[in-house]
Assembly symmetry: C2
DNA sequence: GCAACGAGTCGCTAT
DNA sequence: ATAGCGATTCGTTGC
């Protein structure tokens, strides 16, 4: 049986991290979780969802939970990262052993939205024909590449959420430039659309200025229009 | 006194999230933490550092920890997000109340690296003079803008980690294009450098092709050279 | 191994 | 509110 575990400590501690940066977490009350694969997280009590400190899978722990020692140390040699936990008090702890590990299923990812669009390109323009998903260019993959009736390539950049960053139209423009210098598309006029449920003002302005299109599409609507 | 709290549960549950996407976490053994501000995280036992599900600060919880109810629900109205926890077993739980909340201090952020470079531009080129930090262009801020002896602007894009993405040289190129059409820099020849501890092969090729520079600088070395 | 990119990204700063 | 961007980003997929 696939048995996994974790240890949860509620402690007063200060912490030093060294590795990709150096960090010091001053003395305070924290929840500290170490998983059986060596991964660990440190949470303060109510300051959002992000941990204050953490260590990746593969970390090796020494003196963990040993109340006679006042420094617990985790080291990850491959990455040369180190977390030193200076323990002042162990308020509480909890051992977790588990045998059931159901999977996480997500609906509404960008990939899925892209699937639905590729299956029904009429949503974008009439008479488009699919060429390839994740069409490779030297500067990255085009989500959906199609051709219109005249044989001109049409690149679609699909986003699951409202787009605001200007890097999105720039990214699409790079793909089009790449197609323009691709012998396979010699003597054609590549076009491109951003496909997303919404777009920010600045991003829209850039999109227009570059001659790109924006098509408003929402995952929920795609689903309800789906056969 | 600033008292904060959290509740930690070790439970067998399945979970449904709806909001920005729809997700289902199948039945399994999980660590579930709710903080006093409503934020919550759900962790499986050892599958890396990222939570399987979470809710942001401001979430309102109903029937939390009530073992007579088998559905605990958190809702965030502002964001219309909802997390439903179908509880099969409560293996363990832990109440955490804390009064000490030391701060997190980080050394080695990009901003700090940028500070050190701005203080000693000789690290980049001789005879550079600082013009401005975070110099505003219509397409985003330039980390460090300087001028060389001839009065030509030199833009620096600082990264604290090795750069691999091609968007970095493209971003810098956009900044330079912006300077070229900026009346303040009329009749000058803007140049630019990426400053980072390392660079990927593809990224380097693009950087060279665009006529940009790359300068290898490491936070640790900056510190040790610092007075 | 590197590279490119999405993410329910989060969280911060400045307009 | 919006925008821009860093992050000890993490995690996945493809080459």
């Amino acid at each position: 049986m696939d048995s996994r575990g974790a240890q949860v400590f509620y402690i007063r501690c200060s912490i030093r991290y060294s590795g990709r940066i150096d960090a010091e977490l001053e003395l305070g009350d924290r929840i500290f979780i170490v998983f059986h694969d060596g991964a660990a997280i440190v949470h303060a009590l109510g300051d959002g969802v992000k941990p204050k400190n953490w260590m990746p899978s593969g970390t090796q722990w020494k003196d963990l939970g040993d109340t006679t020692k006042n420094i617990w140390v985790g080291e990850h040699q491959g990455r040369s990262e180190k977390l030193e936990i200076y323990v002042e008090d162990v308020w509480n702890d909890m051992q977790c052993f588990g045998t059931m590990h159901g999977r996480l299923i997500k609906l509404g990812s960008e990939r899925e939205m892209s699937d639905l669009i590729a299956d029904d390109l009429d949503l974008i323009e009439l008479d488009l024909q699919l060429v390839e998903r994740e069409y490779r260019t030297p500067v990255g993959p085009i989500d959906i590449l199609a051709v219109d009736r005249k044989g001109n390539p049409v690149a679609l950049e699909v986003k699951r959420a409202r787009v605001t960053g200007v890097e999105v139209p720039y990214q699409l423009l790079r793909y089009l430039d790449s197609l323009r210098s691709d012998p396979r598309w010699a003597d054609t006029e590549p076009r491109g659309h951003i496909v997303a449920p919404g777009i920010g003002r600045v991003c829209r302005a850039e999109t227009d200025r570059m001659g790109l299109g924006f098509i408003r599409l929402d995952y929920a609507n795609l689903i309800s229009n789906s056969p």
